[in-house]
């Protein structure tokens, strides 16, 4: 590896990892990884799921002991065996999954884990001071469960920054943020970095973010440092190739990787909103999509209204139609009613008013399973919550919505279930040791395939896919895209609920934008530009 020796000469780096290796049994998670972070530098760390990013950072944070290698802070070798030691050495981290306690307030969460007496007023003042300094305004007495994802991340950031870290690690910080929130976050990173000489490690698998927000980038692939370079000297396609280890088409995979090429990496994420997408040849809309054939709406939602238990309007007379063979995307920022709509179409709740029609027939939404019987297949947003039963076998999960088909008067027909399961495992390339293995033992991508296989095996009229690629790696994402296209080509009306702009642009023929529980506009993909979508997402007419 010639790159890693080519360290920037000059000042003593804020952080240096030398030859970090960690293996778990036969799996080498990190293989002699070197990483140098200068003061005042934003260092991008790229890699697919399983490339070793998290292990490396866990070693750094004292959550995991490395087999070999050492950590230097300001040129001095330090021993990081516990998270407490990491904190003492000025290492702070904001994890991808927030570690906040929802019923507690902001200041309580910030104070959590600190030794000594807790002084409410001092901490509140601290929260406000830190917030003002970095432009992270937040009400210290607000309860965390009422905050949006972006606000929660602010709490995490304030919590980390209050401890005055010399090196701050952010793990996939934008996975739950809107584009505007992401841009704001990177602005904060810049100011905190430039003004105070802290080092920042930004972990991401979204190339657009890395190229826009970092100074230096390192790419990990299968536990090894595959590439290291100044961000200005590289390009998104180059990074994509280094990450995946082969050439990446800018079409499906480009979307999967969040590959939105920006012309000017020095600008923050704003380029995405300024026509950056034009650089990506958008997937041509499925040619067979009869988007404007009237009267063929396979799925029609009319005036759906749902109020939350606290009286908040979750869906506000939502209307949407999806025709046979068409992929319609419902795009918007997370938390604008998509989860409610997903629950509704999964049959988990009934709307206050409004109706759902499948093939022109109204479905009674009070009865569990009615939607499924009417021909609506659902890939739920949170498959563990409503899509699968983790402790049942793969076979059981593959048939559980159609028990009547697989049982006699009383008893289940085990042989028939096995046969069906084996066929679906084969057809959908589900990687499992056997159809009897508990679903829990499958990887996320394969669990998702089980859901997809089950829902499609019922020959649905409509397929609702809510965030179908959340948490999947590139290979699984490509596969999911292909399956969704296939389903549409076979005449299924596909409703794709997504917060990923690239995904929406790559798959859909029409894009409906949801904001505050209502549709603010529906655009053909040809007419959809990031600007117009951005306006609609913000609740304005475009």
């Amino acid at each position: 590896m010639s790159h890693d020796r080519a360290r920037t000469d000059g000042p003593v780096p804020a952080l240096e990892l030398r030859g970090i290796s960690k293996r778990y049994g036969p799996v080498v998670a990190c293989d002699a990884v070197d990483l140098t972070v200068q003061r005042g530098e934003v260092h991008g760390l790229l890699g697919e799921n399983g490339a070793g990013k998290s292990t490396l950072m866990k070693v750094l944070m004292g959550l995991v002991q490395a087999d070999a290698g050492d950590v230097h802070r300001d040129g001095v070798a330090v021993d990081v065996r516990t998270p407490q030691q990491a904190a003492e050495h000025g290492l702070g981290m904001v994890h991808q999954h927030f570690s906040l306690i929802e019923p507690l307030t902001v200041w309580e969460n910030v104070a959590l884990g600190e030794p000594g007496r807790i002084d409410r007023d001092a901490i509140c003042a601290d929260v406000e001071a830190v917030g003002a300094r970095y432009g992270l305004t937040i009400e210290p007495t607000a309860t965390v469960e009422r905050l949006s994802a972006g606000e929660r991340q602010r709490v995490e950031l304030i919590k980390a920054l209050r401890r005055d870290p010399k090196v701050l690690v952010l793990d996939e910080p934008t996975s739950v943020l809107t584009i505007a929130e992401s841009a704001a976050l990177f602005e904060v990173l810049r100011t905190s970095v430039a003004a105070e000489g802290r080092g920042v490690i930004l972990i991401s698998h979204k190339l657009a973010e890395i190229t826009a927000a970092t100074d230096v980038v390192s790419v990990l692939r299968r536990g090894r440092l595959a590439f290291h370079c100044r961000t200005a000297d590289t390009s998104a396609p180059e990074l994509a190739r280094q990450m995946v280890g082969r050439d990446v088409s800018l079409r499906a995979e480009g979307a999967a990787l969040g590959l939105v090429v920006t012309d000017d990496p020095a600008k923050h994420l704003t380029p995405v909103l300024q026509g950056g997408l034009d650089a990506v040849p958008a997937e041509p809309p499925a040619p067979e999509a009869p988007a404007d054939v009237p009267g063929t709406a396979a799925l029609a939602l009319h005036g759906l209204c749902v109020a939350g238990p606290d009286g908040r309007i979750l869906l506000d007379s939502l209307d949407l139609e999806v025709a046979t063979g068409e992929i319609v995307a419902l795009y918007g920022v997370e938390g604008n009613g998509q989860a409610t709509l997903g629950d509704l179409l999964s049959g988990l709740m009934a709307p206050d008013t409004g109706e759902v029609r499948v093939d022109g027939r109204a479905v009674s939404l009070d009865r569990p399973g009615a939607l499924h019987e009417a021909g609506v297949g659902v890939i739920p947003e949170d498959r563990h919550r409503s899509g699968v039963v983790l402790d049942l076998s793969v076979a059981d999960n593959l048939v559980m919505t159609d028990l009547r088909r697989f049982s006699g008067r009383f008893l289940m027909r085990r042989a028939q279930i096995r046969a069906q399961a084996e066929e679906l495992v084969e057809r959908f390339a589900i990687r499992t040791p056997s159809v009897d293995a508990p679903l829990r033992t499958l990887s996320g991508g394969n669990q998702q395939r089980v859901v997809l296989a089950r829902e499609l095996s019922a020959n649905p009229t409509v397929l609702v896919a809510a965030q179908p690629t959340h948490g999947l790696d590139v290979g699984a994402i490509e596969d999911m895209y292909a399956r969704l296209r296939e389903a549409a080509a076979a005449g299924v009306a596909v409703l794709l609920i997504s917060t990923e702009l690239e995904e929406v642009m790559a798959l859909a023929s029409r894009i409906a934008v949801i904001s505050s529980g209502r549709i603010t506009g529906v655009l053909d993909v040809a007419d959809a530009s990031p600007q117009r979508l951005g306006m609609l997402v913000g609740g304005e007419a475009a």
Binding site: A149, E373, R385, T441
Partner: protein
């Protein structure tokens, strides 16, 4: 929908699920062997502790073992007593298996059993007719009584969200009062005093021809109708829970209510009926005790059969097939304890031993799960390679 949540973390089985068990469809894996090993260790510790307790209460462990053995399985008479005790334990445990499968944790069997015995007694004493008919009606009524009692909890849970554990437990104490009241009210069930003695707080004795038949004569092995009934129920339930659509739906509901709803299951109907059914089994146990051994309603008729039956289900991990031997074991301990007096060791020591045994069986799966979780957390840190070779499919959940 509340505030947006980030990508879901891999869901964990709640630890309580390891105590309750109830997923009969899993093959034994590394976890199972670990659990078995820990169980052996725990039972050894429990036996050791029991021996220690006996020693410090001035008894001799060998005498105690001898007494327990003599009272329970040394001869046909012992076996007879063991089986008589095992029948209601098994019935209660079977009911608990059903509720646990559905994820509703009924712990009020003691009360449901009492109510069942009371209703059964009422029918047996008041209904006129041929013996077989009255016995059948009384047993069905006992089951209905127990079912109705747990049905109160079901109704409260599915309409108002009242916690099932709390309501079934508290209803037990109400049931005790109801039975007290019934046997203290001459207009209800209090015995018609004979001669000059004051009427005691118990019902009249059930006439001879309404008592459950048993096959065999002392000192040979005697097997009562209750035992046969319980065994039959165990077999039927084992098949139903393991292989029927109903059993599958119960498991689905218990393991993931949301996915179950998506699959067309109405929780209030299926879960509610599971709760009612579990109460019915406890009530039936009450009827069997009444017509099989005690013959009259007394406030103490339940004699902890409800609590112990629940423990049987816990030890058996909610599997009807396993509940049979466990119920026999517990029945044997009960039978043996009556022989303890001769050893100078207080007979409540058997309760302590029993409790130790329950802990020895209930704790290992949880320990094993905690241990496995710790192992997993360590290995989960290792991100599995993005593209594991087809020859070595990812065994553990890949962190996403």
């Amino acid at each position: 929908m509340s505030a947006p949540s980030p990508t879901p973390a891999p869901a964990r089985r709640p630890l309580a699920a390891y105590v309750v068990g109830g997923m009969g469809l899993r093959r034994p894996g590394a976890d199972a062997w670990r659990t078995a090993a820990i169980t052996v260790g725990c039972v050894a510790v429990a036996v050791l502790l029991a021996g220690l307790l006996v020693t410090i209460s001035d008894g001799s462990p060998s005498e105690v073992v001898d007494a327990l053995y003599t009272g329970s399985i040394a001869d046909a008479a012992g076996w007879s007593q063991t089986l008589v005790n095992a029948a209601p334990l098994l019935l209660v445990a079977l009911g608990a298996c059903i509720a646990n499968r559905a994820g509703v944790f009924n712990i009020g069997q003691e009360g449901q059993l009492l109510i069942g015995a009371m209703v059964g007694c009422f029918v047996a004493l008041r209904l006129q007719g041929p013996g077989w008919l009255v016995i059948s009606v009384a047993l069905v009524a006992a089951a209905a009584g127990g079912g109705a009692w747990s049905g109160i909890s079901a109704a409260m849970y599915y309409t108002r969200g009242v916690n099932v554990v709390v309501s079934t437990l508290l209803l037990t104490f109400i049931a005790i009062q109801v039975v007290q009241f019934a046997v203290l009210s001459p207009s209800l069930l209090q015995e018609t005093g004979i001669g000059n003695g004051p009427a005691r707080p118990q019902s009249d004795s059930v006439p001879e021809f309404l008592r459950l038949a048993s096959f065999g004569q002392y000192p040979d092995l005697t097997i009562g109708v209750g035992v046969i009934l319980a065994l039959l129920a165990a077999v039927v339930l084992a098949v139903l829970l393991g292989r029927s659509r109903w059993g599958f739906r119960l498991s689905m509901l218990g393991l993931n209510p949301m996915a179950a709803r998506h699959a067309g299951i109405r929780a209030s109907r299926l879960g509610g009926s599971a709760l009612v059914l579990s109460g019915a089994f406890a009530g039936l146990a009450g009827g069997v005790i009444l017509l099989g051994t005690v013959f009259r309603l007394q406030p103490a008729i339940s004699n902890n059969y409800g609590w112990d039956g629940l423990l049987v289900a816990l030890v058996a991990r909610s599997r009807p097939g396993l509940a049979v031997p466990v119920a026999v074991l517990f029945g044997g301990l009960r039978a043996g304890s009556s022989y303890l007096a001769a050893t100078g060791v207080p007979d409540y020591l058997v309760d302590v031993i029993q409790a130790l045994l329950v802990l020895a069986f209930v704790v290992p799966p949880v320990l094993s799960a905690l241990w496995g979780r710790r192992l997993r957390n360590r290995s989960a840190v290792a991100e599995t390679p993005a593209r594991p070779s087809a020859a070595a499919p990812a065994k553990e959940e890949v962190p996403v």
